[in-house]
Amino acid sequence: MSTAEGSATENSVSPRAGDPPITPEVVADHGLSPEEYVRIRSIMERELTYTELGIFSAMWSEHCGYKNSRRLLRLLPTRAPWVIQGPGENAGVIDVGDGYALAFKIESHNHPSAVEPYQGAATGVGGILRDIFTMGARPVAILDSLRFGDLDSGRVRYLFSGVVSGVGDYGNCVGIPNIGGEVAFDRGYEGNPIVNAMCLGLMKREELITASASGVGNTLMTVGARTGRDGIHGATFASEELSVDSDEASRPQVQVGDPFTEKLLLEASLELIASGVITGIQDMGAAGITSSATEMAGRAGTGVELEMTDVPTRERGMTPYEILLSESQERMLVVVEKGREGEVKRILEKWELEAAEIGCVTDDGRFRILENGVIVADIPALPLTQGCPTYEREGIESEEIQGLRAMDLSEHLIPEGDLTKSFLLLLGSPNVASKRWIYEQYDTTVRTATAVRPGGDAGVIRIRGTNRAVAATTDCNGRFVYLEPKRGTMIAAAEAARNLVCVGALPTAVTNNLNFGNPLKPHIYYQMRESVLGLVEACDTFETPVTGGNVSLYNETDGNAIYPTPVIGMVGVIEDVGTVTAQAFQHEGDDIVLLGVNTEELGGSEYLYVTADLVAGAPAAVDLDGERSLQQAVLKMIGERLLSSAHDCSEGGLACALAEAALGDGGAPHGISVELDDDLRPVAVLFGEAQGRIVVSCSPDKTDEVLSVAGRHAVPARKIGTVGGPTDDFGIVVRGGSVSTPLGEMATAYFDSLANLMDTTPTGP
């Protein structure tokens, strides 16, 4: 460890031998605009060194600097009495009762997964786990929210199977159960898959630790894996559009994961935090050492000084530029109380990991980098982390999408024909069909706390030693957001909340992952703005503040943007784990009750996609106050133990929701007999995607009470049928038609279609 020679106020840093000169081309290659460079010049009051340019490029990238989204994100509600930590830290934290706190966050790894699906997805899981355990919380659950193109493409099957293996292998090895998530297939994601991973962690309230570099003179140490040349400029790469050439050229920017080291790092970090020798800890995620060190200093209002030759590296001859921008995985930066460095090393040694002193906390507010004692970068930390310019772009709705929304769908609805055939087709569509092929590749039961596994409306994790549990879900129907961003985003939040109440959880807080195209295009910025406005309204109404999240922009391939996909990760609290309610029908003879109203909503529906190959029309109407009443009514019914089951209606409509409840996990299916007298066209009743509907079942002696609770909450409700036995047919009669099928045929369509698609056809890049 050496200290800087000369005075820090003497504002001159000589270029390092061998570094390229700074030209407008070099600046542009670093993703900075000429105006931004002028601004940096004036902050620095001199020319930059190449190392300094690299640092600014990473910190002022979209990924770290949120330049095109920060102004919108400020609109989101972030406060509530139960919020312990809002946006700005590694993860949000809420109070879940009995002295426990829940840390949770969602993050994207879209760009790397498009190039190298297995490692891209694996390292996405690794990163989000570290965000949770650096808060002092032990990770207890993972959810994954995935989007791909249509599975008839070999390349899409390759991406899909690679991503699922990557998510699975990493989480399985570290030993964190996967409790849910979602996957959608639509040509809108061809070439640019969406890979978002969410993690939940539990801790005692007092175990919370933050990521700040406080205590002048304290030591900075790297712990965990060594720094290599992988992932250099990943943050900048994630802030660009992909092209046909991205595949090979960008591979070096994709990191490689090692879940075994992660597991050791997890245990070592929690032990470090419990030992009290460290005052701050942060994952070296996007932009590596640079972002972790500057953000920790920025939060504490201090400075840091780092000696690059003290950083343990995997290869010889790495330049300060490379060391600072490497995104090698499974590394942490910790701030250690001066004099206790040996204790850190002892803990890390037990876990067979390395720790090295690389610098110290200073009082001059500067981010100073030395190489063999010679200053190679010297930047004021605050402007670096906070000074990134933010933009409000022009937002105009695309005329093409306006046209799609206004389209008269009736001419595209195939003549009624055989409704049972359409039903089975829809049930076997990858968007509706069982996702068993995916989650059987995940460990869902390790840590013995999973009360509801994947396949239900929401996953549930019991809090050991208490009667409580937490529930989590991720939701977003990108077609709806594409057709009308504000309404589509409200629908995503409403569906997430419905999913939570169906298992008996009170919706409590949100983490969001905004996946969009290039914000410099007015029609994309319009989608972002409208979407955030929709989320603001929904979260206000549901009292679910946003405690953090992630923004992934430039999700475009050759100029074609993905559907705007603001994934909502919502968490809820269950006070009595004994009230957790199943999605599947439980008892023959139970009544089936529909909460909510059937309306003609086929715009953006799965039915339209499957039968007419069309994404058009207006998304379903959404009434946020009505949704809120529905949530409260269902929670009341579950709290009073009136229900045998509850299941939300979403893709595929009421008929598919009933089918999912009838089939359950396939082990004990139930036939049903349902009659619906709605004065609507049959396909709208069966397959329309009207919002605000939940199918519940209850013992017949409780039906009156269920209807009366609904009435008291002003939620329309009616008995629509009864639950049958395992040999009964599945039958729904509507005005002008019916669906009727043996359970076996239905089970084949639902359970086997994804496996058939994946196992019988080759994948290929």
């Binding site: 293996s165 699975g168 399985n172 030993g175 876990w351 059987e440 013995t448 706390a449 019991r462």
Partner: protein, 232 residues
């Protein structure tokens, strides 16, 4: 009545196993793989997980840990040793059980509930079950495909050392009920003296109805019942 849960770097089922042993009354302790000495314990438990990342081969590096010498000595002295999932793989690598666990025939990790039939209810691990009882217990592994040469399989079957077998709802050991391609649908087996048990399914994750099943509970109550008798 003391139980040791041996933790290797990368073990992730150690906590679950600890809780299960505690639930049935064992005074349970974690023993780090670099520690030595198991004489103070009445039963030794090897947990699931990915010891050493399963790099090279599942269990292949773990079996070289210092503590494994003591595990072998403990077993040789007749002490009950239970290895679950990665623990089973490690027991095979260490030679305490014959055969090997190779990649699942479906070439994918399998995480789901399976049914197994209890083939022997006379062991210290199974005395609270009944012969032929069918259990629903989760599996979670990528390398659970049990393989051994014909002579070994014949010997295992002949000596009645297969303790658990994958079966269907009716109790038949069919191919469809076999989640990983294991020969003879073997899910768990014991050594010649019947004091070492390895199995791929996770009984420690089937201890409470609220988490899906409590069919694993009897394995731990069996141990709790037998251990005082064994050590008497």
């Amino acid at each position: 009545m003391k139980a040791a849960v041996v933790t290797f770097p990368g073990s992730n089922g150690d906590y679950d196993l600890y809780k299960a042993a505690q639930q049935v009354g064992f005074d349970t302790h974690f023993v780090w793989h670099r520690e030595r000495g198991l004489r103070a314990f009445d039963v030794v438990l090897l947990p699931g997980g990915f010891s050493y990342g399963d790099y090279l081969r599942a269990g292949a590096i773990a079996r070289m840990s210092p503590i494994m010498e003591d595990v072998v000595a403990f077993a040789d002295a007749g002490g009950p040793v239970l290895g679950i999932c990665n623990g089973f793989q490690t027991l095979c690598e260490a030679g305490l059980l014959p055969g090997a666990l190779v990649r699942n025939d479906v070439l994918r990790f399998q995480g789901k509930d399976v049914r197994v039939r209890v083939e022997r209810a006379d062991l210290p691990f199974t005395c609270d079950y009944s012969d032929g009882q069918i259990l629903t217990i989760p599996i979670a592994h990528g390398e659970g495909n049990y393989e051994a040469d014909e002579a070994t399989l014949e010997k295992l079957e002949g000596e009645g050392r297969v303790v658990f077998r994958y079966v269907d709802r009716e109790g038949s050991a069919t191919d469809e009920a076999n989640p990983n391609g294991s020969w003879h649908n073997i899910a768990g087996l014991t050594n010649e003296s019947g004091n070492v048990l390895g199995l791929m399914p996770h009984p420690e994750r089937a201890m409470e109805r609220i988490l899906g099943s409590d069919h694993g509970l009897a394995l731990f109550t069996s141990l709790a019942t037998s251990v005082p008798v064994l050590s008497a």
